[in-house]
Each structure stands twice: as C-alpha cells, then as structure tokens.
C-alpha cells in the first residue's frame, strides 16, 4: 500500500516538474511547480515526517510560490516573448548538469549507501518537532545561524537596491 502511494505521488511530482519546464505560460509553470511542491510534501508524509510536510507546505507552497505568482501577475509577464534568448548557452548547460545530478543520484542509490530507516518508536521520537528544534539549537547551531545571516544579507540587499537612485 505504501509503495503504491509512493509511486502515485512520485509520478505526480515528476509530471509536475516536467510540465513546469515545458509550459509556455509563466502562471501555468508556477502552478505546476506548486503541484510538484505538494507532491514532495506528501512524500515527506510518507516518510513519517509530518513536521517537514507542514514546513514544505508553509514555506514553499504557501509563501514562496505566492510571491512568485504575485510578481508574475503584477508585471504581466506570463506570456513568453518572441525575442531570441540572450543566454542561449544556459539550456545545454542546464541539461548537462541535470544529467550529472541524475548519474550521481543513481550511483548513490544503487551503491547501497542507504541506512535502513529507524524503527517506528525511534521514528516518532525523531520526527517530533521538539527533537528537531533541540537539534537545530544545539548540534546544528552554526549552520542554522549562518543560514539566518545569509537571509539577513538578502534583506539588506533589498533595502539597498530599493534606495538606489533615491536622494536621501
């Protein structure tokens, strides 16, 4: 039963990702990406990590994609322009890098470098938001704070860019 659920969800995720790439309308692309995010969230649920499920929904589906849609709609940029692409080298490079990623993941996946998932009792303990929070504030404090710092830099960048050309 779990395998069937996984296959359905994985199929939806892949279809969403591919449709996002080939869609000619930016809003449709955003919606397919949303579908992909939702499928990934369900995959987290199948891995018995409900906390990550809600975080995936709130942060990616609920916040980031709303902003994407908002910008696309406000700018009216949903139609593809017919002007030739100025960064034409981007597409083959992306394909190449994507292939490399695929190869790496297949090698890792087939190489048997996978730990068996913890048993149900330990899993419940592990997926508890309390445990996760404690880990973030003790063992992984430095990466956590560095991430926060990077986000702060982004915020400052927005303010600076917004001030440019304005007399203070």
């Amino acid at each position: 039963m779990e395998l069937i659920l996984f296959l359905i969800t994985a199929l939806i995720a892949i279809v969403g990702a591919v449709a996002m790439l080939v869609s000619r309308n930016a809003v449709h692309s955003a919606l397919f990406l949303l579908l992909n995010f939702a499928a990934i969230a369900v995959l987290f649920l199948l891995l018995q990590a409900p906390f990550l499920f809600t975080i995936q929904l709130t942060v990616y589906a609920g916040a980031i994609m709303v902003l994407f849609l908002f910008v696309v709609m406000l700018l009216g940029a949903e139609k593809v322009e017919d002007t030739p692409d100025r960064i034409a080298w981007q597409q083959p490079l992306a394909l190449l890098l994507g292939l490399a990623l695929l190869v790496v993941s297949v090698v890792v996946g087939l190489g048997g470098a996978t730990n068996p998932p913890p048993e149900s009792e330990a899993l419940i303990q592990f997926s508890d938001p309390r445990t996760l929070g404690a880990l973030l504030f003790t063992d992984y404090l430095l990466p956590f704070e560095v991430t926060g710092f990077i986000l702060l830099i982004a915020v400052i960048g927005v303010v600076v860019l917004n001030q440019r050309g304005r007399k203070i």
Partner: protein, 405 residues
C-alpha cells in the same frame, strides 16, 4: 491499520464535510436574519417556517443558473480556482477537536495527556503538529482567490485578486504570532493537548488575552470578512475576484469564505475558550458512569462536550455578524498600516512577554494572571496611542494650486 479503522475514518471525513457544508448553508441564513434584525428589518422569512428553507432555495437557484466561462478567460485555471479555494477550507477541519467521545468507553481518557486508551471519534486526527497543519493550510488558502482574479482576465477581478494576496500575506504574520504564543503557553503543537491543558477553568484567554485580540483581528482579515473585506469592495471593484463567476462556481467561493469563518471561530474556541470544556463536564461524566455504566458515561460526555463546543462556536459567529453590521470597511492603506505597524509588532511583543514570564514564573496560575495583566496593559496603551490625532491627508484642491508664475 485494518479495514474497519479506515472505514471509520472515511465515514468521519464524510460526516464532517457534510456537516460543515450544511452549517455553511444555515450560516448564510443566520447571518441574513441577524443582520436584518440589527438593521431593523425582517430578513428572509418566506421560504418555509421562519425562512428555514431559504438555503435550499438558494442552492436550487445556484445549481440551475447558466454556467458561463468568459471567452478570454484562461479556461483550465478559471475552472480550477473555485476548487482550490474550497479544498483548504474543508481539510482544515481534520485537526479540530469537536468534542471527546471515546470509543474505548472511558471518558477519563479524554483528560489523559499521554492519550493512552483514547479513540476519540469527534476528531479526525490528532497530529503532533496540528497547529502547524492549520497554519500550512491557511497559507495555501490564498491561491483560490488569486488564481480566480488572474484567470478571469478582467481588471476588476485582477485587482481583487492582488488585493487579497497582499492582505492575506500581511495578516498571516500576525496570525502566526498569535497562534505561536498559544503554542508557547501550552508547550505543545497538538490541538487535543491544547484543549486538555485548559481543563479547570483556566482557559487560554487568561494567559493570552493579547494573543486572543490579535488572533481575532488577524483571523477576521484572513477570512476577508467585514471590516476587512476590501477584496470584494463593490464600490471600487464591482464585486472583486469573483466578478466573472456565476452559478455553482460562485457558490464555491462563497462556501469557502463561510467555511473558513466557521473554522477560525472553531480554532478561536479551541485555542482561547477551552475547546469542548464546560464547567461541570467531568462531574457529569463521573455521575453518569456511576449511574449507567462506562458506555453511557462516555456517550453522554461526548454529546455534551460536542454541544458545548458548538455553542461556543455559534457565539463567535454571532459576534462576527455583529461586527459586520457595526463597522464600516477600512481604507486599503489603513489596512496595511494596521497589519504591519500595529499587529505584527504587538504580536512579537506578546511572544517576548510569553517567553519571559513563563520562564521566570514556573507556576501555571500565577504566570497566567501575570500575562493577563501585561496583555491588558498593552491593549490599553495601544488603544491610547491610536487615539492621538492622525495626520490629515494632504490633498490639494485644484482651485488652491499656486501656479509658479
């Protein structure tokens, strides 16, 4: 998981969905009758006794109306948007505890924080992250409105959709702060546990008076009710994001809005007013158990707790209708001011209060009342600040313009 458990879950989902949609139908009647009373009118009273068949008449009318898709609309998204709007409003009910009817026939298990021997039929699932689930679902609720506005290919719809997304994103922060302070007070993300911890009359409104006020304002804005219903300001937008929608598709938007209103009322009851608790409920359970056995005890306990919960929700719905009848709509810039410059700072302040007081004073009762006092003082100060005269908007009339020569 055997098939019986799955069957029971399916039946639960089915019953709750039906109950919530019926509640939506009668909420429209309730609102129209109460609004009419408050405005010294009669309201719809012709269909059936006291107008009780009015929702059915409305439903028949909406079902048989001609279904139109605008020629220039983006058809798939246009058809998808009502469904996207209504689904979050329905699935949010999965974690709300309506009451406690223990199918293992032991009413006392409802109070047990460890939840052993508890099979509560009046709550679909008790996630250990229930509150986060609620926030996640409300955060995807904005899509229906936004997409409807965009797909209709109508500038009024578009403006309504953009207004709504800006408003929902802004008020989500304040809502999150209010809910987070409740989570910090009770130290859990499970809705069932939040309810059980409010046993004994010390309801959530006492430690979180400030959180309650913030929650009510932010939640009213989240469900775009008056006085924050700028999304559908008729004078400015000819109807808002749903201008181009008719028949059942319009009804779905309407349904999403009202179901969300019921849901935030139910959450307010869960977080701040003791959920299904009612004074004397445990005495009732004990007496009935002694009188007629544990099965009858659990059933009576469950039904009374469900009744208490519904009663509290109806009180909140009445207040919402009352507010709608009393207050005029805010101007858009004032709305953004309120959200970002008042609610968010006060919400962060409340988080600080909650953390500091709970760490400093470990005793539950004492820190609850200290927080109550702090909250009351803060509300008084905030209202006092708002009484200072607002800057007059600088509008230069054409006849007053001084030409440079």
């Amino acid at each position: 998981m055997d098939w019986l458990t799955i069957l029971i879950i399916v039946i639960q989902c089915f019953v709750i969905t039906l109950a919530v949609t019926t509640a939506f139908a009668y909420l429209t009647l309730f609102e129209r009758r109460i609004l009419a009373r408050l405005q010294n009118r009669v309201g719809p009273n012709r269909a059936g006794p006291a107008g009780l068949l009015q929702p059915a008449a409305d439903a028949v009318k909406l079902f048989f109306k001609e279904d139109i898709v605008p020629a220039m609309a983006d058809k798939p998204v246009y058809l998808l948007a009502p469904a996207v709007a209504v689904i979050p409003a329905l699935i949010i009910w999965a974690v709300i505890p309506f009451g406690c009817l223990n199918l293992n026939w032991d009413y006392q298990a409802c109070y047990d924080p460890a939840r052993t021997n508890l099979w509560n039929i009046l709550q679909i699932t008790d996630l250990n992250i229930g509150v986060l689930y609620v926030l996640a679902v409300t955060s995807i609720g904005v899509y229906g409105i936004t997409l409807a506005g965009w797909a209709s290919n109508n500038k009024y719809s578009m403006l309504g959709g953009i207004r709504s997304s800006a408003q929902l994103i802004s008020y989500e922060l304040a809502l999150g702060c209010a809910v987070l302070s409740v989570v910090m007070t009770y130290g859990t993300l499970s809705t069932h546990e939040i309810v059980t911890q409010q046993q004994g009359g010390l309801w959530g409104i006492i430690p979180q008076l400030l959180g309650f006020v913030l929650y009510m304002i932010a939640a009213t804005a989240e469900v775009v009710r008056a006085p924050f219903d700028l999304v559908e300001a008729e004078q400015e937008l000819t109807g808002g994001y749903n201008t181009e929608y008719g028949s059942m598709k319009f009804a779905l938007f309407f349904m999403a809005e009202y179901i969300k209103l019921i849901a935030v009322s139910a959450l307010a009851v869960t977080f701040f007013f003791g959920g299904w608790h009612f004074p004397g409920l445990d005495i009732l359970g004990r007496e009935v158990t002694a009188l007629a056995g544990p099965v009858a005890g659990s059933i009576v306990f469950g039904i009374v707790s469900l009744g208490a919960f519904l009663l509290k929700v109806v009180v909140f719905l009445f207040i919402s209708v009352w507010v709608r009848a009393s207050w005029p709509r805010l101007r858009y810039d004032r709305l953004m001011d309120l959200g970002w410059k008042w609610l968010l700072p006060v919400g962060l302040l409340n988080l600080v209060y909650t953390t500091v007081v709970i760490i400093l004073i470990p005793d539950r009762v004492v820190h609850s009342w200290v927080l109550f006092g702090l909250g009351a003082i803060t509300i008084a100060i905030a209202i006092g600040f708002n009484r200072t005269p607002k800057p007059i908007d600088n509008v230069t009339l054409v006849k007053d313009i001084q030409l440079p020569n």
